[in-house]
Protein backbone atom coordinates (compact mmCIF):
# COMPACT_ATOMS: atom_id res chain seq x y z
CA UNK A 1 0.00 0.00 0.00
CA UNK A 2 1.31 3.42 -0.96
CA UNK A 3 1.17 6.03 1.80
CA UNK A 4 0.12 9.45 0.53
CA UNK A 5 2.44 12.34 1.23
CA UNK A 6 1.34 15.83 2.27
CA UNK A 7 3.74 18.73 1.94
CA UNK A 8 3.87 22.45 1.34
CA UNK A 9 4.92 23.40 -2.16
CA UNK A 10 5.35 26.96 -0.93
CA UNK A 11 3.69 29.18 1.70
CA UNK A 12 0.45 29.29 -0.29
CA UNK A 13 0.18 25.81 -1.78
CA UNK A 14 -0.13 22.25 -0.52
CA UNK A 15 0.52 19.07 -2.47
CA UNK A 16 -0.82 15.59 -1.77
CA UNK A 17 1.24 13.07 -3.70
CA UNK A 18 1.53 9.26 -3.80
CA UNK A 19 -2.23 9.01 -4.35
CA UNK A 20 -2.79 5.46 -5.52
CA UNK A 21 -5.74 4.40 -7.67
CA UNK A 22 -7.83 3.21 -4.70
CA UNK A 23 -7.46 6.48 -2.80
CA UNK A 24 -8.05 8.43 -6.01
CA UNK A 25 -11.31 6.53 -6.50
CA UNK A 26 -12.32 7.36 -2.91
CA UNK A 27 -11.55 11.03 -3.49
CA UNK A 28 -13.54 11.15 -6.73
CA UNK A 29 -16.52 9.69 -4.85
CA UNK A 30 -16.54 12.50 -2.29
CA UNK A 31 -18.97 14.84 -4.12
CA UNK A 32 -21.54 12.06 -4.55
CA UNK A 33 -21.25 11.04 -0.90
CA UNK A 34 -21.52 14.64 0.32
CA UNK A 35 -24.67 15.01 -1.76
CA UNK A 36 -26.25 12.48 0.65
CA UNK A 37 -25.79 14.68 3.71
CA UNK A 38 -29.56 15.17 3.92
CA UNK A 39 -30.31 11.43 3.79
CA UNK A 40 -31.90 9.91 6.91
CA UNK A 41 -29.22 9.13 9.45
CA UNK A 42 -26.65 11.40 7.87
CA UNK A 43 -28.79 14.48 8.42
CA UNK A 44 -29.32 13.69 12.10
CA UNK A 45 -25.58 13.16 12.53
CA UNK A 46 -24.54 16.43 10.88
CA UNK A 47 -27.40 18.62 12.08
CA UNK A 48 -27.63 17.76 15.75
CA UNK A 49 -29.99 18.75 18.53
CA UNK A 50 -28.82 21.25 21.12
CA UNK A 51 -30.28 19.66 24.24
CA UNK A 52 -31.53 16.15 24.88
CA UNK A 53 -35.31 15.89 25.29
CA UNK A 54 -36.21 19.53 24.69
CA UNK A 55 -38.25 19.65 21.49
CA UNK A 56 -38.99 23.38 21.66
CA UNK A 57 -35.37 24.39 22.23
CA UNK A 58 -34.20 22.04 19.50
CA UNK A 59 -36.75 23.39 17.01
CA UNK A 60 -35.46 26.92 17.64
CA UNK A 61 -31.90 25.66 17.43
CA UNK A 62 -32.44 23.98 14.08
CA UNK A 63 -34.19 27.05 12.66
CA UNK A 64 -31.19 29.10 13.65
CA UNK A 65 -28.28 26.78 12.90
CA UNK A 66 -29.24 24.37 10.12
CA UNK A 67 -29.10 26.88 7.22
CA UNK A 68 -25.73 28.18 8.39
CA UNK A 69 -24.27 24.69 8.90
CA UNK A 70 -25.65 23.57 5.55
CA UNK A 71 -23.88 26.48 3.88
CA UNK A 72 -20.65 25.74 5.77
CA UNK A 73 -20.68 22.06 4.85
CA UNK A 74 -21.69 22.65 1.22
CA UNK A 75 -19.04 25.32 0.77
CA UNK A 76 -16.30 22.95 1.97
CA UNK A 77 -17.62 20.28 -0.39
CA UNK A 78 -17.63 22.68 -3.33
CA UNK A 79 -14.04 23.70 -2.62
CA UNK A 80 -12.66 20.17 -2.47
CA UNK A 81 -14.69 19.19 -5.55
CA UNK A 82 -13.06 22.01 -7.52
CA UNK A 83 -9.60 21.13 -6.20
CA UNK A 84 -10.06 17.47 -7.15
CA UNK A 85 -10.47 18.39 -10.80
CA UNK A 86 -6.71 18.96 -10.67
CA UNK A 87 -5.95 15.41 -9.48
CA UNK A 88 -3.55 13.88 -11.98
CA UNK A 89 -0.32 11.91 -11.98
CA UNK A 90 -1.08 10.62 -8.47
CA UNK A 91 -1.08 14.11 -6.99
CA UNK A 92 -3.27 17.10 -6.34
CA UNK A 93 -2.14 20.63 -5.54
CA UNK A 94 -4.43 23.13 -3.87
CA UNK A 95 -4.24 26.53 -2.14
CA UNK A 96 -3.25 26.32 1.53
CA UNK A 97 -6.28 28.44 2.43
CA UNK A 98 -8.42 25.48 1.27
CA UNK A 99 -6.97 23.20 3.96
CA UNK A 100 -9.86 23.70 6.40
CA UNK A 101 -12.31 22.91 3.60
CA UNK A 102 -10.44 19.65 2.96
CA UNK A 103 -10.54 18.75 6.67
CA UNK A 104 -14.27 19.47 6.81
CA UNK A 105 -15.15 17.66 3.58
CA UNK A 106 -13.10 14.56 4.40
CA UNK A 107 -14.62 14.38 7.86
CA UNK A 108 -18.13 14.94 6.55
CA UNK A 109 -17.64 12.18 3.99
CA UNK A 110 -16.48 9.72 6.63
CA UNK A 111 -19.39 10.59 8.93
CA UNK A 112 -21.95 10.32 6.14
CA UNK A 113 -20.59 6.93 5.06
CA UNK A 114 -20.67 5.72 8.65
CA UNK A 115 -24.21 6.98 9.17
CA UNK A 116 -25.54 5.50 5.92
CA UNK A 117 -23.98 2.10 6.71
CA UNK A 118 -24.58 2.17 10.46
CA UNK A 119 -20.89 1.65 11.17
CA UNK A 120 -20.10 1.06 14.83
CA UNK A 121 -17.02 1.20 17.04
CA UNK A 122 -16.76 -2.58 16.66
CA UNK A 123 -16.85 -2.24 12.87
CA UNK A 124 -14.01 0.26 13.03
CA UNK A 125 -11.81 -2.44 14.59
CA UNK A 126 -12.34 -4.92 11.73
CA UNK A 127 -9.10 -5.50 9.86
CA UNK A 128 -10.13 -8.34 7.51
CA UNK A 129 -12.44 -6.63 5.02
CA UNK A 130 -14.74 -8.48 2.63
CA UNK A 131 -15.10 -5.93 -0.15
CA UNK A 132 -18.14 -7.72 -1.59
CA UNK A 133 -19.92 -6.49 1.54
CA UNK A 134 -21.14 -2.89 1.06
CA UNK A 135 -20.54 -2.11 4.74
CA UNK A 136 -16.96 -3.30 4.54
CA UNK A 137 -16.51 -1.32 1.34
CA UNK A 138 -17.73 1.75 3.22
CA UNK A 139 -15.32 0.90 6.05
CA UNK A 140 -12.40 0.81 3.64
CA UNK A 141 -13.31 4.27 2.36
CA UNK A 142 -13.71 5.59 5.93
CA UNK A 143 -10.24 4.28 6.80
CA UNK A 144 -8.49 5.51 3.66
CA UNK A 145 -10.00 8.97 3.90
CA UNK A 146 -9.20 8.92 7.63
CA UNK A 147 -5.54 8.21 6.89
CA UNK A 148 -5.43 11.20 4.55
CA UNK A 149 -7.30 13.36 7.06
CA UNK A 150 -4.75 12.40 9.73
CA UNK A 151 -1.88 13.46 7.48
CA UNK A 152 -3.54 16.77 6.61
CA UNK A 153 -4.14 17.56 10.29
CA UNK A 154 -0.53 16.72 11.13
CA UNK A 155 0.57 18.97 8.27
CA UNK A 156 -1.62 21.80 9.55
CA UNK A 157 0.10 21.49 12.92
CA UNK A 158 3.58 21.64 11.49
CA UNK A 159 3.90 17.91 11.04
CA UNK A 160 3.43 17.19 14.73
CA UNK A 161 0.99 14.31 15.16
CA UNK A 162 -1.28 14.75 18.17
Amino acid sequence: MIIPRVESVDAKTIRISNIDSVLAHCLYEIPDILAKRSAPGAHERLFQDLIADDAAANADWHNYTTPELHHLFASAGDTITRDLTGLADKQVIFPAVHLDAWLSALNQTRLILAALHNLTETDMEIRQLDLTDPRHHALLRVHLLGDLLYLLIAHSQGGQPT
Binding site: Q48, E121, D123, Y150, Q157
Partner: protein, 99 residues
Protein backbone atom coordinates in the same frame (compact mmCIF):
# COMPACT_ATOMS: atom_id res chain seq x y z
CA UNK B 1 -48.29 51.11 49.02
CA UNK B 2 -45.83 53.80 50.23
CA UNK B 3 -44.99 56.63 47.87
CA UNK B 4 -41.65 56.32 46.10
CA UNK B 5 -38.71 57.93 47.88
CA UNK B 6 -40.80 58.55 50.98
CA UNK B 7 -38.52 58.96 54.02
CA UNK B 8 -38.26 55.79 56.04
CA UNK B 9 -38.96 53.40 53.19
CA UNK B 10 -36.48 51.27 51.35
CA UNK B 11 -36.91 50.64 47.65
CA UNK B 12 -35.94 47.37 46.05
CA UNK B 13 -35.31 47.09 42.37
CA UNK B 14 -37.14 44.24 40.70
CA UNK B 15 -34.75 41.53 39.58
CA UNK B 16 -35.29 38.46 37.49
CA UNK B 17 -34.50 35.90 40.15
CA UNK B 18 -34.75 32.94 37.79
CA UNK B 19 -32.18 34.57 35.50
CA UNK B 20 -29.74 35.77 38.13
CA UNK B 21 -29.77 32.45 39.97
CA UNK B 22 -29.78 30.39 36.80
CA UNK B 23 -27.43 27.46 37.06
CA UNK B 24 -24.64 27.30 34.49
CA UNK B 25 -24.82 25.25 31.32
CA UNK B 26 -22.31 22.57 30.45
CA UNK B 27 -20.90 21.98 26.99
CA UNK B 28 -20.52 18.21 26.68
CA UNK B 29 -18.76 16.37 23.87
CA UNK B 30 -19.63 12.73 23.31
CA UNK B 31 -17.62 9.87 21.87
CA UNK B 32 -17.88 9.13 18.19
CA UNK B 33 -15.99 6.13 16.81
CA UNK B 34 -15.50 7.79 13.43
CA UNK B 35 -13.86 11.10 14.36
CA UNK B 36 -10.07 10.78 14.55
CA UNK B 37 -8.34 11.44 17.85
CA UNK B 38 -6.04 14.08 16.35
CA UNK B 39 -9.05 15.73 14.71
CA UNK B 40 -10.91 15.99 18.04
CA UNK B 41 -7.79 17.36 19.76
CA UNK B 42 -7.36 19.95 17.01
CA UNK B 43 -10.99 21.06 17.32
CA UNK B 44 -10.72 21.52 21.11
CA UNK B 45 -7.63 23.66 20.60
CA UNK B 46 -9.33 25.77 17.96
CA UNK B 47 -12.72 26.23 19.64
CA UNK B 48 -11.68 26.65 23.26
CA UNK B 49 -8.12 27.85 22.78
CA UNK B 50 -6.86 25.00 24.95
CA UNK B 51 -3.22 23.95 24.96
CA UNK B 52 -2.47 20.75 23.07
CA UNK B 53 -1.98 18.95 26.39
CA UNK B 54 -5.33 20.08 27.78
CA UNK B 55 -7.14 19.41 24.51
CA UNK B 56 -5.63 15.95 24.34
CA UNK B 57 -6.69 15.24 27.93
CA UNK B 58 -10.30 16.08 27.07
CA UNK B 59 -10.08 14.02 23.87
CA UNK B 60 -8.89 11.00 25.87
CA UNK B 61 -11.70 11.51 28.37
CA UNK B 62 -14.21 11.47 25.52
CA UNK B 63 -12.57 8.38 24.04
CA UNK B 64 -12.29 6.44 27.30
CA UNK B 65 -15.37 7.57 29.21
CA UNK B 66 -17.76 8.45 26.40
CA UNK B 67 -18.04 12.14 27.24
CA UNK B 68 -16.17 15.14 28.52
CA UNK B 69 -17.23 18.45 30.03
CA UNK B 70 -15.47 21.08 27.92
CA UNK B 71 -16.86 24.31 29.27
CA UNK B 72 -19.40 25.58 31.77
CA UNK B 73 -21.07 28.97 32.02
CA UNK B 74 -23.71 31.26 30.58
CA UNK B 75 -26.11 29.73 28.11
CA UNK B 76 -25.43 32.16 25.27
CA UNK B 77 -21.70 31.44 25.23
CA UNK B 78 -22.34 27.74 25.70
CA UNK B 79 -24.61 27.74 22.62
CA UNK B 80 -21.90 29.48 20.61
CA UNK B 81 -19.45 26.76 21.57
CA UNK B 82 -21.89 23.97 20.68
CA UNK B 83 -22.57 25.65 17.35
CA UNK B 84 -18.84 25.73 16.59
CA UNK B 85 -18.44 22.09 17.66
CA UNK B 86 -21.33 21.09 15.39
CA UNK B 87 -19.62 23.00 12.59
CA UNK B 88 -16.61 20.75 13.12
CA UNK B 89 -19.00 17.76 13.20
CA UNK B 90 -18.27 16.69 16.77
CA UNK B 91 -21.08 15.19 18.82
CA UNK B 92 -21.91 17.93 21.31
CA UNK B 93 -24.81 19.05 23.46
CA UNK B 94 -25.76 21.45 26.22
CA UNK B 95 -26.65 20.11 29.64
CA UNK B 96 -27.89 22.07 32.62
CA UNK B 97 -25.67 21.88 35.68
CA UNK B 98 -27.29 20.15 38.64
CA UNK B 99 -26.89 22.43 41.64
Amino acid sequence: MPAPNQPGTIQFEETDVSESLDSPWNVIVFNDPINLMNYVTMVFQRVFGYSQERARRHMLEVHQHGRSLLWSGAREQAELYVHQLHGYQLLAKLEKTDL
